[in-house]
């Protein structure tokens, strides 16, 4: 029987990460779950153990704050005995109007979604480079494809993150290390609990997790999930400004 894959999930209590972890647990993999809330971590860990993960470790860690990230990352990797796949899945949506009015809130969101995320990504990339192989997968967003008045603060962090990942993917092109940027559209998760769902554009976290799983196996660099968001964003990116300006999106 093959060695169990060693998986580090940063933001393991997020809905998409949890659903992906279930797919891996069913294959008997070993997981280290990092997130802020120890009670939620314990609940997720119990579930993954019951689903067949060969080992589930947890680490209570405020990932949005990157202070001491290098030491913390080393500790995660040591506990797992090395890492084969890193999934970075945390992030906050923020309220656009609130962040326009309160730049402390804006800064907190930038620190979480961009600053800390690129630092963890860089640390993960360095670890995989040393190991000689592995995958870094990071959840960005379709919101990063064009700045829109309803969520450009959030969108800008995801755009910056996507460019960082593009650079990492370029750095590792032709090597056994892969870097995947995941761009989900609308996903029915607690992050979007305030919105009425059910239209054809809404996906479940299970669908997104399955797409991530396939993309990791196929060593993809960028995916839109569900797939049709690639077309939607292609159109939105190319809308002439006079038309774009009339849209309230």
């Amino acid at each position: 029987m093959a060695e169990a894959t060693r998986i580090l999930i940063l933001g393991a209590t997020s809905a998409i990460a949890e659903r992906w972890a279930r797919l891996r647990a069913a294959r008997g993999d070993r997981l280290l779950l990092a997130a802020r809330d120890p009670a939620k971590l314990a609940i997720v860990a119990d579930d993954l153990r019951a689903r067949g993960a060969s080992e589930v470790l947890t680490a209570e860690s405020d990932l949005g704050d990157a202070d001491g990230a290098a030491e913390r990352f080393s500790a995660f990797a040591d506990r797992l005995g090395g890492v084969d796949i890193v999934l970075l899945a945390y992030g906050v949506l923020g309220d656009q109007a609130d962040m326009q009015a309160n730049t402390d809130h804006l800064r907190a969101m930038l620190d979480t979604n961009f600053t800390s995320a690129v630092i963890w990504s860089e640390l993960a990339a360095g670890h995989l480079e040393q190991a000689g192989s592995g995958t870094l997968a990071v959840i960005a967003s379709v919101a990063g494809d064009r700045g829109r008045r309803t969520n450009y603060a959030y969108g800008a962090t995801k755009a910056g993150l996507s460019v960082y990942l593009e650079g990492l993917a370029h750095r590792f092109a032709g090597t056994p290390v892969s870097v995947l940027c995941v761009k989900p559209g609308f996903v029915d998760t607690p992050m979007t609990a305030h919105v009425a769902k059910g239209g054809p554009l809404w996906a479940t976290p299970d669908m997104v997790a399955a797409d991530i799983d396939r993309a990791i196996a196929r060593r993809r660099t960028v995916i839109y999930t569900p797939w049709f968001w690639r077309l939607i964003m292609l159109i939105i990116r190319h809308l002439p400004r006079p038309i774009f300006n009339r849209l309230n999106i």
Partner: protein
């Protein structure tokens, strides 16, 4: 806890729908806040799972609903002993994907796998193995509820046994369930050994049922259009878990009914044609192996099949009559239907066993059960069902709340004399459209 107004929640029969203040907690410890937040405006709320209840027992119109499908985690799975503790929003669909490869099956399953564990317990569901396994409540070892007046309460047949028994078949009114621990059934294969046989009339149905006592799963489809000589003809199906064939769970997918069918699609002519084809079909005499998915869940292959009945929806009717009068009462029921000119597309006949449920308001009892669905044609349909109700009441039987959307309070109370006990143990924050109708609105509540 974020809540939002949702105006689209409807019953599976689609006759009832309405606006609810909705919350979808993702964690067990968020349930209390979700319940209070959704009840803030109208004073009551109710747990809601995958919405497969045909009638109004899972609606609380103009009040709150707490959707439990985000609570879908396993808590512990003993792969040697077959004991599973899981959050109540876990569906049988998701459960089987985990347990079947480990050699375990749900102890009792309804005809769809798209129900939550919480919904299965709240309705004390039964299946094709009722004659040997009883209802699902018999296999619940322990459960936890959140109550607005007591917080989290764990109960089992010994500890808080009153609350335990009221919760099984308690229609979600005794508290919001958080997790359930059930004993699974061991299997050696995902395949089923199946035997289908045609029967010409009700006497043959009863003979086949008696003859099939050593088959753990039995059910029959019955033709509700043919009267006279052919009254009660149908197809009897029996099965057991195979000994070999691997433990591959079911796959997902299959088509979805995209829109409402025209309301006239399922009428006496089309159903009659279907029945003739079904009865004559070689599958009606099938003997061989089938995957459990096709054996237990044929309707799950078409997602949203309830749209086949058009925009006006349909009623389900399911009653049970005790053994003493089972033959005559069942004959009378079929006679009433064939004479009515209404057509039931899905008509299911089964003999229940005598294994008692711990549930206070459990539906199954020893005897014969008949399940029907009728396109909603307004007064005509209601009148027919009222006539069927009378046959069941006279025989000392009762109707299934999970499938009801119109039974009068008096008829319900006659069939379930323990209803006052459930009302006494009801969490004051919880209410459903069904309970308002059968226990509260006539002034007998409390």
């Amino acid at each position: 806890m974020t809540t939002r107004l949702d105006t689209s929640i409807e019953t599976w029969g689609r006759v009832h729908r309405g606006a609810h203040q909705l919350a979808e907690p993702a964690w067990r410890d968020a349930v209390a806040e979700a319940a209070r937040a959704t009840a803030a405006a109208a004073g009551t709320t109710l747990a809601h799972g995958l919405g497969r209840s045909y009638g109004d027992s899972a609606l609380n119109r103009d009040g709150g609903l707490v959707r439990t499908t985000g609570l879908d985690r396993l808590i512990a799975f003993d792969r040697e002993g077959g004991i599973l503790r899981a959050e109540v929003g876990l569906s049988i669909d998701a459960l089987l994907r985990v347990t079947v490869p480990a050699g375990w099956f749900v102890p009792v399953t309804p005809g769809t796998k798209f129900v939550t564990l919480g919904g299965a317990v709240a309705n004390d569901v039964h299946g094709k193995n009722h004659h040997v396994a009883g209802s699902v409540g018999r296999h619940v070892r322990r459960l936890a509820l959140w109550r607005s007046d007591r917080g989290v309460v764990e109960c089992d047949p010994e500890v808080e046994s009153d609350l335990f028994s009221a919760t099984i078949g308690g229609l979600g009114l005794t508290g919001i369930m958080l997790w359930v621990e059930i004993a699974l059934h061991p299997i050696r294969s995902a395949m089923m050994q199946v035997e289908n046989r045609r029967f010409a009339d009700l006497d043959e149905f009863f003979a086949l049922s008696e003859d099939s006592a050593d088959w753990p799963y039995t059910v029959a489809w019955v033709d509700t259009i043919q009267g006279g000589e052919a009254l009660g003809r149908g197809v009897f199906s029996r099965g057991r878990h195979a000994e070999t064939g691997g433990l591959e769970p079911h796959r997902s997918g299959g088509p979805t009914m995209p829109i409402n069918a025209p309301s006239l699609l399922l009428n006496r002519v089309t159903v009659g044609a279907f029945n003739r084809l079904y009865h004559a079909n070689p599958g009606s005499a099938f003997r061989g192996r089938r995957h459990y998915d096709g054996f237990f869940y044929p309707l799950d292959r078409l997602r949203r099949w309830n749209r086949l009945y058009g925009a006006r929806g349909f009623y389900q009717w399911q009653g049970v009559v005790p053994p003493a009068d089972a033959r005559t009462a069942t004959r009378t029921l079929l006679d009433v239907i064939t004479r009515s000119g209404e057509a039931s597309f899905l008509a299911v006949l089964k003999n229940f066993g005598d294994r008692p449920s711990p549930g206070l308001l459990s539906f199954p009892m020893a005897g014969t059960t008949l399940a029907l669905d009728f396109p909603n044609r307004g007064e005509r349909t209601l009148a027919l069902m009222a006539e069927l109700d009378r046959v069941v009441s006279q025989a000392g039987g009762r109707l299934y709340p999970a499938k009801d959307g119109r039974i009068p309070a008096a008829a319900f109370q006659l069939g379930y004399p323990s209803w006052r006990e459930l009302e006494r143990l009801r969490d004051p924050l919880l209410m459903s459209d069904f309970w308002r109708r059968v226990a509260i609105s006539d002034g007998n509540g409390g």
